[in-house]
Symmetry: D2
Subunit: 321 residues, 4 copies
Amino acid sequence: MAGSARDPQQAGREHLGARAGAPGRPGAAGAGARYTARLLIGCADRPGIVAAVSGFLYEQGANIVSSHQYSSDPTGGRFFLRTEFVLDGLAAPGTERARFERHFRERVAERFGMEWEVRYRGQRRRLAILVSRHDHCLMDLLWRWRRGELDGDVVSVISNHRDLEGEVRGAGVPFHHVPVPRGAKEGAEARMLELLGAERGVELVVLARYMQILSGAFLERVRVPVINIHHSFLPAFAGAQPYARAHERGVKLIGATAHYVTEELDAGPIIEQGVERVDHSQSPSELERVGRDIERVVLARAIALHLDDRVIVDGRRTIVF
Amino acid sequence: MAGSARDPQQAGREHLGARAGAPGRPGAAGAGARYTARLLIGCADRPGIVAAVSGFLYEQGANIVSSHQYSSDPTGGRFFLRTEFVLDGLAAPGTERARFERHFRERVAERFGMEWEVRYRGQRRRLAILVSRHDHCLMDLLWRWRRGELDGDVVSVISNHRDLEGEVRGAGVPFHHVPVPRGAKEGAEARMLELLGAERGVELVVLARYMQILSGAFLERVRVPVINIHHSFLPAFAGAQPYARAHERGVKLIGATAHYVTEELDAGPIIEQGVERVDHSQSPSELERVGRDIERVVLARAIALHLDDRVIVDGRRTIVF
Amino acid sequence: MAGSARDPQQAGREHLGARAGAPGRPGAAGAGARYTARLLIGCADRPGIVAAVSGFLYEQGANIVSSHQYSSDPTGGRFFLRTEFVLDGLAAPGTERARFERHFRERVAERFGMEWEVRYRGQRRRLAILVSRHDHCLMDLLWRWRRGELDGDVVSVISNHRDLEGEVRGAGVPFHHVPVPRGAKEGAEARMLELLGAERGVELVVLARYMQILSGAFLERVRVPVINIHHSFLPAFAGAQPYARAHERGVKLIGATAHYVTEELDAGPIIEQGVERVDHSQSPSELERVGRDIERVVLARAIALHLDDRVIVDGRRTIVF
Amino acid sequence: MAGSARDPQQAGREHLGARAGAPGRPGAAGAGARYTARLLIGCADRPGIVAAVSGFLYEQGANIVSSHQYSSDPTGGRFFLRTEFVLDGLAAPGTERARFERHFRERVAERFGMEWEVRYRGQRRRLAILVSRHDHCLMDLLWRWRRGELDGDVVSVISNHRDLEGEVRGAGVPFHHVPVPRGAKEGAEARMLELLGAERGVELVVLARYMQILSGAFLERVRVPVINIHHSFLPAFAGAQPYARAHERGVKLIGATAHYVTEELDAGPIIEQGVERVDHSQSPSELERVGRDIERVVLARAIALHLDDRVIVDGRRTIVF
């Protein structure tokens, strides 16, 4: 009896098949429509960029489905563009795609000194989740993945504890136990880099309440984006036991922030945030419970936005289209 | 290999054991403290009620841990009280509890014509979940139950479809398939009443996206509270395909309402509500996705509030302490 | 002694002078940057529109500052564009503007069958406010106008009561008392049309808690957009005394909706919405108080969005860029 | 010509006369009902407190209208009670009130070592507002006061600038210009203490965007609560130009916190907080505009809560009933 709980990857595929439309994202903009490919551009702003890009797409026979642009400053700032278009010739992998990209580079990108990328519909990215003992973000992501809410695939879960092994394997995902003994972080990180890289070709690392601090060397070598979730309060409380301290100060709002990980702890570019109201009668453990509900939703939204290529990093901040 | 995924009930118990404190609830007030019993009262308001109740508890040696009261109108209205107290003699089942309740009835309750109830710590209620094909509320409730967030136990899931059987059995909960063929609702409801009543002693029925309308006869015979979740919009859209219609009207907020079920469809006393912001670029299916995230949280909160005896029905509305 | 309270129009101008930048809007996107003009387009979607428009702007020497587009459906749907650009030659009124518009019509607009409009920076629109006795929306709008938050000018307040005459005249705005005696609505509306039209050249009518229903004939003859604010609940309560009825039902969220007025009462395209949490302990009059705080903010946002040309009506709904 | 704008104090009184009910508060609980007096208690928690207080009130013939209690810890914690009751004999000032208070002290308060206070309906408190140049909080408070939303009276506005003098005098409130030249803070604070104390009998000081830091000596000598409002972000940004820094970091939520002022800058007990969503396209000045809308509402709520005696300070945090 192969119920969906037994073969979740299959279930995931079925869900995806059922969705005529796009991967979409919770709480955000416009994925509903069909598209063939997505063009992402960043360059120094100057007149003529949109004319050149849209002119090129028109000549190629593309029909623009959605387009978002932003300039940090029209004079001397940076210009960002995300556009989705339909172009039947690019629907299947092959030489047409290479030709399209070469022409774009030669006719447009080089002229404006663009950083650019074309991502074709159906190119699902590979995610690894790092987790310690808290299961709420992990379980939520596995559930969303299985029902087809994410435009990517969870290919690996790595944990420094064995607590969640059963849940992960039950969802049909490989589980790797990489303990981090005191003084042996270097070796643990090396093992994780192996698991993420050669073995799995991971394209996004999600810290779903992973309680170890990743070293600068790890972040440099991993070479893919790393997204973290952490609690946030008004005002902020640094250090240990933040919920206990928030309770002591009687905060009225608690929240969570999802951000890209940089060497600067918890200060990387913010992708998404959320808050909930609390009151004096809630104990620290109840605040944590509220915090969990916020964390899982904020993290899931951040990941969905990233997978939809809606998040553009501009120095220390993000542009979210 | 007894991973938590294989023996969730065990996992649930471990979690419960780990929580030194109380059942608690997400997003709401003060369960953190220890208590022995909870006293719930409703009666016509008049002077002296609080003095009588608190005097009685003091004489019995009880230490009040928390107390909430509300009067719909001090003159001619209805008075409601919820108080939690510590009284060591009542910690274990036995004759002390019977004696306490008899004395309360004789010395206080009869004098004020009270409806009242004592609920002792550890008396976990038995829940049944009715569901059709949407899994988001069901999965969320099973997860919360297993990690000990609910002061009650999910003892049965009943569905008119087999889609979610694997998920339910995987969580260690009995699954009952009760199809509702056209024209045969009476028989289906009779079967469900058997499953809820004699066989299971269910004390709360949760409609976690159960898409059949329950008959007035069923509601009368089930004799336990039934909680439902449904989408809500500003303004409201009655009828079929509400998300499509909300999209057509360009609503900027979508939400969900959890309420007790009465014969008046979707108009029973409201327990909890939530909303999220949306915009024109989101397709109807994306609105549904946002709606799912709201629904599961609002339903979970409503159930936690109910199980903590924080919801008091006063005619067509609720008092939520 | 010319304190700002005595000469608010002067104060308003000072504020405007002080703002180096743009009109901006509360709670919404990107007005901070300088721009010369704004181009607004609506037409049947088909390939090449963006290429044609951006190519034209580039040829004219314009530098695009911001651009938003939306297609209700790339195949057979409607396309909308809002773009702001810098083009020094158009900074002052004169023949250059006429030439620019003629060229755009001949080279782009006619080819795609566009509805289109160019609005130049500094072309402030003229608003009239209709109000009855509730002052919260009126006072808030007058304050925002005086401090330069609105890219438009309040040129007239019309009321069916005299209650707020002092407040309005104190803010330096003409006040017109147009009573609406039973059975004499037609005459009253005719007088209002005179006041709005010939005398004042009003370009936007705001119903800031105006408690009379405007006739279909009035709406047809006024020929400018009319924005209304009204309370909203989950679920909705039609009819009289909505706050009392919301209290009876124990709603947990109350809100407000700002929309364009159509003949279909309170069902015109929604511009903006907001909600706040309430609980059982709040009386109907306290719910109204919360409602007032929501109404004034939601109405102000809707008006700012409209004046920034960010709201596009697409049938029964709005696109808000 | 006695329009309300010309004689706002009169207008204020008219509004109050019109409100049959209570002062109430926006966004919070239960002021609608009539009451004669409010009893506020704080003491070490131990059994019998509620029995003693409610027994006493019952003997005096009081009818309890509302009651809230909280214990920071039933064993060794602190107990707080706020109860409103009707007792006709206390409706007018006189010997009955003195007798009631003496009996309460002798029979209840001394026995439990209570800090306590009785506040009679109609005893409106006297507020002073300190402000610099930003007018949004000031204007909002004056408007709320004039329409009767606050259970207190604004008797004085003090500013270190003359900018808002016209607005304040126009609202019928005395305005005092107390400049704070560099190096002369001591003298300025001495003058403010005179204005607040002997001359005006002020019972609450509101810092409505007062940009000077009050010295510890001032706070010690002012002897009445001081409430401040300031911006808050997730995460927090200390130092100058917080909105510019929030924009640089791309925050997605900005907010405001109202708190009692202590010597520890911006770290006093939090009364109320609020947030709004923002995005990358909003300039720092637009973030400030959103911030203003939050600040005025959060500050107004905090003041209303304080005036309704709903805020109890327990060390570094507040209990808000």
